[in-house]
């Protein structure tokens, strides 16, 4: 928020707020003089406003938590038919977890709660926009929906009819349910088309490994509530990784929810994450050595006859040398590479074996090295060996509802490699892409500068964005057709982890739209109707909610439901409840003794971009607890909420070890320059004991050039200097595989909420 002194709330505004609040909250100021306004605390006499709680679905991360939205009447300035006016309407006031939802069971993380500010954001795009200046200049002019649709139609119809050469490319964030089905089907109806999904944290490596180990192309559902021993390799599972609310619920249960039993939690990672901070034991392991550690533990389990190698089944077979007992991974042999003492590895193996169920997790940076597919497969094998694959207290998989996707035959690709390919293609032959539709993804921000995504997009003939904000990608668009916020639109979600139940969340709009926006799926359906032909048949629904209803009809047909008599009841119950969830039945994950058909993977040391002599430090970006991948940087609540580890607000920082800082003559909050082979950035330092001396860590999320008044030109973006290398065998960006050097530039500043790193700071030595 800009300095308040420049933006003082006018008295009139204040009165207006009072008036709005007064509409539902009345102070009992009349009557007895004893009860006049100031005499007692006003809240004492407060009559709470009437709130209705409406279900919805959280969309700020892929976890797919269920929401309850507190809706209260209020006056809002809204645009209707091009006219601005004051309208009394239900307004979303607060987001809470939906207690009935199997994933988050009434709880919600900070990011999910701040999702409310997306709807009310002052910099939300309020009408369709057309670019009026040069690309990237940020100059747009407001146009009507009719005109916007006309302009888009003009390009799409020529592509659809084949009159113009070039493909239709639809670039979206990770979508699910009918939203994805509509997008994919729409794209697929064009002869020459490509559908690309891109999100920075897409768990591609974990998915690929799970597909290989357990035949489930999904992140695991981790049952921590029944686990007695947790071994985590870098997974920030209490913060941002996978389904953090579901995992936090389980974690709380694991710690203190079972009288007499308290599980143990061990974390291996080179920089202490918020999750690592909660571990009973935290070990700094060398980056990229996580797979070695997993197999080291497995070796001890097998060698000490705590578990037979064969009990790991197919997941074990996937690791080369498994049945041979993994002798080359003996703790003493990997000690030097992992930086973890042999006796520690042995002890942990024994503890884990003795305290079943024990579960191993891997994620975040550990799954973002060049050899991370191996690391993840090795961790899967360890889980299988521990008997935790598909079992309570271990990693499980639910059956995921697939909303009719995959029928379109479109060239569907996802992950960083797809964006890289698209960029390369645009760069070399811009006209090969006839039109680029963008929804939800911000590849200009979230890809290494070395991929030249911005430069390539600048060459695209037509870019149409459905974004709600002018971000680094949508600023390049020719047309912006702003979507409703998730609270204003119908919403459906089919999360693939977080619960072993089949979850199909659904919710009608929690409130009326504030601005002149339209839901993206409705825009696509309208376009499809107008384009006609195969599109009209492939997308027969008039509106998005029709499509969702159809999906639920199909769901009813397949799953039936004991508590609803008919499809209609099923549909309305789902809307009331916030979705439909199947019974608790984990899908089969692994059978002991099973054989793998895949080619076994073999350890290869992680590769790092940059010569260690010149670039002596591993560069470890990490997801920000508040800003996630940067998509939440525009929300003032998220900017001002202190980061749990650094307590930093409104900015970015670079973490380094005190000994490193000492050696380089760097002090707390000094401005430093971080240089990789691919770029340079500057940020203030945060010197913390929780990081290895050869590692430099930095949160992802800041460094936006254009993303609302709150995030623009704030801090630096670590993604920009990453090396363009991928995780072998997955096409995912190896975002933890860059080496950097660091030098002091001068004094800097970092805004910290917490003044002290340590509790006992006074010097109690008598001097």
């Amino acid at each position: 928020m800009p300095p308040v002194e420049k933006n003082r709330m006018q008295r009139r505004d204040f009165l207006k707020i009072s008036a709005i609040t007064g509409a539902s909250a009345a102070l009992d100021a009349c009557g007895s003089p004893d009860h006049q306004l100031i005499r007692f605390i006003p809240e004492e006499d407060l009559i709470p406003g009437v709130a209705t709680w409406k279900p919805s679905v959280c969309t700020v991360c892929p976890a797919g938590c269920g929401l309850l939205v507190r809706v209260m009447e209020g006056d809002a300035e809204v645009v209707r038919n091009g006219q601005l006016g004051l309208m009394q309407m239900g307004l979303a006031k607060k987001l809470e977890g939906n207690p009935a939802h199997p994933i988050n069971q009434g709880k919600l993380c900070p990011r999910g709660q701040a999702g409310l500010q997306v709807t009310y954001h002052p910099d939300r795009i309020r009408t369709p926009l057309m670019r009026s200046g040069a690309r990237g200049s940020g100059e747009f002019k407001a146009i009507s929906w009719d005109e916007a649709m006309k302009r888009l139609m003009a390009q799409l119809s020529s592509l659809h009819s084949g009159n113009s050469h070039g493909r239709l490319v639809f670039l979206t964030s990770s979508l699910r349910g009918q939203r994805k089905n509509i997008a994919v089907t729409f794209t697929g109806a064009f002869k020459n088309s490509q559908y690309v999904e891109f999100a920075f944290f897409d768990e591609r490596v974990v998915r690929t490994a799970n597909a290989a180990s357990f035949r489930h192309d999904a992140p695991p559902t981790v049952d921590l509530s029944q686990a007695n021993y947790i071994i985590s390799f870098g997974a920030n599972f209490l913060g941002t990784w996978n389904s953090p609310v579901a995992q936090s619920l389980g974690y709380g249960q694991m710690r203190q929810g079972r009288p007499g039993t308290r599980g143990k939690f061990v974390q291996f990672e080179p920089r202490i994450s918020q999750t690592g901070a909660n571990a009973d034991e935290w070990f700094a392991c060398a980056p990229g050595a996580e797979g070695l550690l997993a197999l080291g533990i497995a070796h001890v389990l097998i060698a000490d006859k705590l578990r037979p190698a064969s009990s790991a089944g197919a997941a074990g077979e996937l690791v080369e040398g498994w049945s041979g007992g993994l002798a080359e991974y003996a703790p003493e042999k990997i000690e030097a590479q992992t930086g973890v003492k042999a006796e520690t590895i042995t002890r942990i193996a024994h503890e884990a074996a003795a305290h079943a169920p024990a579960v191993a997790l891997i994620g975040d940076a550990a799954a973002a090295h060049t050899n991370s597919l191996f690391n993840t497969v090795a961790t899967n094998a360890l889980n299988a060996l521990l008997g935790s694959a598909g079992k309570p207290g271990g990693i499980q998989f639910g059956s995921v509802w697939n909303s009719g996707s995959g029928k379109s035959g479109v060239q569907e690709s996802s992950g960083a490699a797809a964006v890289q390919a698209l960029a390369a293609q645009l760069e070399s032959d811009p006209s090969s892409v006839g039109a680029l539709l963008i929804y939800g993804a911000n590849p200009v921000f979230a890809t290494p500068a070395a991929w030249r995504v911005r430069q390539s997009l600048e060459k695209a003939p037509l870019i149409a964005s459905f974004g709600s904000f002018i971000d680094e990608t949508s600023i390049l668009a020719d047309l912006i057709l702003p979507d409703h916020s998730s609270l204003e639109s119908w919403i459906e979600d089919t999360p693939d982890s977080g619960s072993v139940r089949t979850v199909v969340s659904v919710a009608p709009p929690a409130m009326l739209p504030l601005h002149d926006t339209r839901p993206m799926p409705d825009v696509l359906l309208d376009l499809a109707h107008e384009l006609g032909g195969n599109l009209a048949t492939a997308l027969p629904w008039k509106t998005y909610d029709d499509a969702i209803q159809a999906d639920f009809a199909a769901l009813y047909k397949e799953k039936g439901s004991k508590d609803a008599k008919a499809a209609d009841d099923f549909w309305s119950n789902a809307q009331q409840q916030g979705g439909w969830w199947g019974p608790e039945e984990p899908a089969a994950a692994n059978e002991p003794g099973g054989k793998s058909t895949a080619v076994p993977v073999k350890y290869a040391p992680a590769q790092f971009d940059g010569n260690p002599g010149e670039f002596p430090f591993y560069f470890m970006p990490f997801p920000s607890q508040m800003l996630y991948d940067g998509s939440l940087a525009g929300l003032p609540w998220m900017q001002e909420a202190p980061d749990p580890m650094s307590t930093a607000m409104w900015g970015t920082w670079v973490e380094l070890n005190p000994s490193t800082a000492n050696k380089l003559g760097i002090k707390q909050a000094d401005l430093v320059e971080i240089t990789s082979q691919h770029g340079t950035l500057r940020a203030p330092t945060m010197i913390t004991p929780g990081i290895a001396p050869d590692v430099i860590a930095m949160p992802i999320g800041q460094g936006h050039e254009s993303f609302t008044r709150y995030a623009s030109n704030r801090g630096a973006n670590p993604i920009s200097i990453l090396a363009p290398i991928s995780v072998a065998g997955t096409g995912a960006l190896a975002w933890a595989a860059t080496r950097v050097k660091i030098s002091r530039v001068g004094e800097g500043s970092v805004i910290l909420f917490g003044a002290s790193l340590r509790e006992e700071s006074p010097d109690l030595k008598h001097r």
């Binding site: 917490g754 003044a755 340590r758 509790e759 006992e760 006074p762 008598h766």
Partner: protein, 451 residues
Amino acid sequence: MATKTPEQINEDLLRPLSVVSPRYFVALAIFLAVVIVAGSMFGRQIYDGLGVTGLNRPVFWAFYITNFVFWIGLSHAGTLISAILRLCNATWRRPVTRCAEVITVFSLSIGASFPIIHLGRPWLAFWLFPYPSERGIWPNIRSPLLWDFFAINTYLIGSVTFLLLPMLPDFALIRDRASGFRKRVYGFLALGWRGTPKQWHRLETAMHIMAIAIIPVAVSVHSIVSWDFAMAPVPMWHSTIFAPYFVAGAIFSGIAALIIAMAGLRKFLHLQEYLRPIHFQNLGKLLLVMSLLWFYFVFSERLTGWYGNEKYEMSVFWVTQRGSFAPLFWTMVFCNFLLPVPILAIKKLRTITGTVIASIGVVIGMWIERFLIIVPSLTRKYLPFSWGTYRPSWTEIIITAGTFAAMALLYMLFAKVVPIIAVWELKAGQSVEREHLETILAASEAEAGAD
């Protein structure tokens, strides 16, 4: 001076009321300008909020409260000193008392304005007053701020009275020597003073009672100011030593301020023959005693903290002793002890210049002392996670400067309308001396005669 006739005294002491030099107006304009700038900064602070200061969480009090304690402390210059000297019948007090009492009244008024300046909503300051509001709400007498309200008001009423009563004969004097408008004004102010024995007697009795009453009030005022801090469970605030420590510090800075004011008056109003080196020497001795007493308090406060080694207290202890506040701390020790003690202890150095240098040191040192009592404790209050720092904003600095200018301005104006030395008291002192001398002479003559 023994040769001055009452009429000469009249002439000398009333001259400043009629003669004005251009330099006076220049100085007046400068001080007035500073006051106006400071006032407008305060206006902006009211309009925008306390955000214009350097205050933050956890340093919610800083410059303004420092100034509050400082000015209230300075106010002990006058009334307390003059009351004590009056009760002790110290004859050398006569030329000193009024300029001391004026310091009290003005610095008390300035000091008392700071709790209002520092409020988040100063326009509601009247809520401290226990008036029967229609809502039936009363202030909370448990709050030391309310004690402040009662104590400062009592002290203000007391010291204004203490200043005004002995001014009645002087007003009458001016009344009789003036004409026209001035005569009417001073005539009114003299309240009908004629100088009958009964009036003289009642005035002396009243002054005696006032002197007795004002001393415990003055002590209570600064004790209560110290309790503003000591009542809060803040490390290094929550201390039983605070009340006497503050009272001693207040008298200390009060004497220093008096010496500076006297030196200024002596120079600018040409009162060399009235404010003589003996006055500075005597006050210098008092200042020396207070400096030693101050050191004793600081030492015993620090010693107790150091010996106790309680972790929260030690955080504050070390940050003042060796940490970021150490430069200020040692400046304070220099200004309050190392500088004044040699100057005041060595007779040769205890000149007017010497005492003024020592006093300037003490005034600066005591301002720093108040700052160091308030701010470091707040920056290091318990949980280290919420520790903080403080840097004053220009608003606070200018408002602080403005109050010094206001003090000078008020003093200058006062010295132009009221003789800054009590004319009748001086004359009475002379008469007493003369009589004393005559008695001695008579006695020695009698002795000689007996021989």
